[in-house]
Amino acid sequence: MDNSIIVDFRNVFFSYNTIPVLENINFQLYRNDFLAIIGPNGGGKTTILKLMLGLLKFDKGSITIFGKSPLEARKSIGYLPQHFTSNFDFPINVLETVLMGRLGKRGIGKRYTQKDIEICLEVLQHIGMEQFKNTEIGKLSGGQRQRVFIARALATKPKLLLLDEPVSSIDMKWEQAFYKLLHELNKEIAIILVTHDISVISMYIDKIACINRKLFYHGSKKEGMHKISEMYEYPVQIISHETSHSSSGEG
């Protein structure tokens, strides 16, 4: 296990116009962390991801990712947005969408290579969508589309994966396979998963950050559970995926 810090938030403040969204956020992410950022809607979870990607600029404090600024580091980050800015009547198929993940690896004026296509097909296979590779994106269901965008994030071959509400429209059956896939990926890369739905806190997640404008808790999952229960005023259970192994068939 490598213990080096890859994400470092120090006294970060952010506001939209004059409305404070994040106040004095401090946390560190280590190389093999699988962190869940949880908190109520509007609590600033997505904002944290956007700050890490350099899509938003913080007012005060510092953010370093792989020792660099967010703008320099973002090519090493795979990102699954929560809301898609894309329009779905766009003439693009699944494989072309996933190929966008290779955009940053190829310079302007260059075509995607055969290697890019191979990487994308492999990722599509992992995500169980390879049979849809020629399907137009607008003809997929919401859950299938989300899987394609997860595949696109993975096709960047990131060193850090940011997932914003990744299972919000995915069916339950695939959700388990998805967490298993993340667990495999987590051996190599760090993962941050954002969710407002506490029931998805998987057994594979090892750290939790609770955010509602301020960082209420950041640390191991076990100690965090009753803190979350306090914040939500609701008892929280960890969902175990092991119990359903027998029904999930092939691995």
Partner: protein, 265 residues
């Protein structure tokens, strides 16, 4: 139809139809899929300021329209991204300021303004050879830029945020795309005129979109479709002595409605 080709103006008109179709097949596809039809309308009308300037300075209005439409493209693109002013309003302002400048310049020019109508409504039968040369150059620039930035334009049109994260300079690319719209409008002005430009930028792609879901084919078949339909419009306008720009637009519209009906049945 072959015998009408003995006239030089008819040959020029045919060449113009093909050149126009290349511009609207390529750029029109991005206008439709990126949903920047209204912005394109704004750029087209702002270009009228350049036409007016041409009359005032006694040079070819097509030449003075080039910097005007490019400035309008960069202006609309920059203002709309800077927030504070809504994109809609920015377009509306530049749209009318361009038109107003054009009217002012023409008012200041001595004498009356010959051929003014042809810049507003198009006149494919009077396209001089010098304008054909300008159209060829602009088409070559459009083809070159789109070939270089093809995958970036595709990504930008589909998902701007992800494209930005990938390290692609999206703001620059967006302005470049609007500049291509500006150049294609210059190519189109002589044939359909400022007021009808949007028809050629939107209708061929919208027709073809019903039959393909691949961007590449959309560009290729929009171009081919536009060539056939503009020539058909040109031929009808010659046959029945109708205004060419309006006839071309109505032929496009007729095929659009027919293809939509066909798709429904």
């Amino acid at each position: 139809m072959i015998d009408i080709l003995q006239y030089e103006f008819m040959r020029n008109a045919l060449i113009a139809a093909i050149l126009v179709s290349i511009a609207c097949g390529i750029v029109g596809t991005f206008v439709v899929i990126k949903k920047i039809v209204f912005i394109s309308g704004g750029i087209a009308h702002a270009a009228f300021g350049g036409i007016g300037l041409g009359y005032l300075l006694r040079v070819n209005p097509v030449l003075t329209a080039i910097p005007f439409s490019l400035l309008a493209a960069i202006g609309i693109g920059t203002i709309s991204k800077k927030a504070k002013i809504s994109e809609d309003a920015a377009i509306g302002i530049l749209w009318t300021v361009g038109m107003a400048l054009g009217i002012l310049f023409i008012g200041l020019s001595p004498g009356y303004a010959p051929n003014l109508f042809s810049y507003l409504f198009g006149s494919i039968l009077t396209v001089p050879f010098s304008d054909i040369i300008i159209m060829i150059i602009l088409d070559v620039i459009i083809i070159a830029i789109v070939s270089i930035f093809y995958k970036e334009f595709q990504a930008l049109s589909f998902d701007e945020e992800f494209t930005e994260i990938s390290g692609v300079p999206t703001k620059f690319l967006y302005l470049l795309l609007l500049c291509l719209v500006a150049l294609s409008i210059i190519v189109l002005i002589r044939v359909v005129g400022i007021i009808l430009v949007i028809a050629l930028l939107t209708i061929p792609t919208t027709i073809v979109r019903q039959f393909t879901n691949r961007l590449k084919y959309l560009i290729i078949f929009s171009t081919i479709g536009a060539i056939f339909l503009t020539i058909a419009g040109l031929w009808l306008s010659y046959l029945w002595n109708l205004p060419s720009g309006a006839t071309i637009v109505l032929v496009l519209a007729a095929v659009f409605f027919a293809s939509t009906l066909m798709k429904r049945i």
